[in-house]
Amino acid sequence: MQDFEYVAPTTLAEAIRLMNGNGLRTKALAGGTDVLVQMRGRRFAIDRLVDVKNIPELNELSCTESDGLTVGAAVPCCNIYEDVIIQRLYPGLVDAASLIGGIQIQSRATIGGNLCNSAPSGDTIPALMVQDATCEIAGPNGRRTVPVVLFCTGPGQNVLQRGEILVALRLAAPKANYGSHFLRFIPRNEMDIAVVNVGASVLLDHAKRRIVSAKIALGSVAPTPVLARKAMDFLAGKEATEATIEEAAEAAKSAARPIDDMRGTIKHRVHLVGVLTKRALQGAILRARGEE
C-alpha cells in the first residue's frame, strides 16, 4: 500500500480541518473494509487518511420509539443488528446490516461507510431510502442535512464536498402499522455483492388492509440506488392484495436500467427486480401487520 499520513482526531472540528487539508488529498476512514481494499488496489491515491472512529458524534447509536434512530457514521453493522430495539423498530435496516459481508466484516463495516462508498450495489442504501433516512453532514461551511435518496450521484460518487464528513444517519420514529423489509439476490448464501437488492416499506391503514403509502428502492440496477416511483405511486391507496403486489412488482421493473456484467445480465436483473420487489413488499406488509 502507498504511504500516507494517518490521523485520528477526537473532535468533529479537528476532523473537518484535517479533511479540508490545505490541498492534500484526504479520505475519511471508518470501518476500512472498502477504503483499505481500494487503496491496496490503487483505486485512488491519498496523502492523508482521517480515522473518524474516535469522534463521539460519529459513534452515537440511539433508538427510541418516540425519537427514532440515530446511527453515527462510524458505528459498525454488528452494533446495529444486535440492538433489540432497532431489531423491533427498524427490521428492514437490520436485514441489510446483517447481510453485508461475513461476521468479520460486520465487526468493522459501517452504514455510513457503505453510503459514502456509494456503490450502486451498496446493501444498506435501498434500506435507508425506503425509510426516509437523512444524512447529517458537517463541513467547513457548517452543517447540512441531505436525504439519503439524494446522497449518491453516480458510481462511487456522492454529494460530499471538500472537507465534509458524514456525521450520522437519522431515521424518523416508525408510525403504527408501518413495516419495512430488505432482500438481496446473490448466487451464494453469504458473502457476495448484490446482483439486485430491493428495499420496501409500507404504511397500512387502521384496518391493516389498505396501503396508505409505500416505498420501493432498487440497488445494482442503475448508476445509483433508485426509487421505483411508478410502483410506489401505483400502491398508494390500494388494497394490500396479492394482485396489487404483483402489479407493483411489474411496475418496479420500469425503474431498472441495469447493465450486463459478470454478476448478471440485464434480462436477469430486470426479472429479479420483479421477484424481489414482490417478496420485499410481502415481507413489509407482514411486518406492518405485526405478523412477523
Partner: protein, 188 residues
Amino acid sequence: MGERVHVRTNINGDAADFLCEPRQSLLEALRDILGLTGTKEGCNDGNCGACTVIMDGRILDSCCVLAVEAEGKTITTIEGIAPLDGLHPIQQAFLEEAALQCGICTPGFIVAAKALLDREPDADEARIRHWLAGNLCRCTGYDKIVRAVLKAGEMMKQGPAIGQRAGVLGGKAGGTEAGKSVEDVYMA
C-alpha cells in the same frame, strides 16, 4: 518509507508495543513485526478470513485493519488460543475430525470458531455455517470443519478443565524468540 508510529496493544495477554508505518495492516504488523506468523494472509482483501483475529471481543479480518488502528486494543491471535499444556478443544476437535488439509485457512477458522463458542456454546450447525461464512476453505468442503466445531462445543460444555485456560497465555507477542529473526521463524 512513511514516518513510523508507536502502537501500544495487548496481544494474547501480554503488552505488545511496536513501531509501524501507517500503511501497514494489522496482519503485516502481526506477522512481519511481531513474528506472530500463525495468522495467515489469504486474499488480503477481506474475503477469505485466513487472517481472522479477535480484537476487543469481535472477530475481524486483520488485513482490513491498519496496525495503527490497533492502538489501545486487546487482540487474540491463533497463538493465544491453546493453553500452555496442550490444545484448545477446538484444535483437538479439528484433529479428530480431520478438519484440515493444507492448513492455511485453519488458524482463521479456529479463531472465528472460538469467538462463536465463547458467545454461543450451543450454536447449532446452521449458526456455525452462518458464522463461518467469512472463512473460506478450498480443501475440506466445510463439512468436517462444521463437525469439528459442533464437537468442540460439546467438549467445552462437558469439561471446564479442557479449554478453559487459567490466566497465563501461550503465544508470546512483542518480538520473536531471543536470537531469532523473523526470517528464521518463516524458515522454521
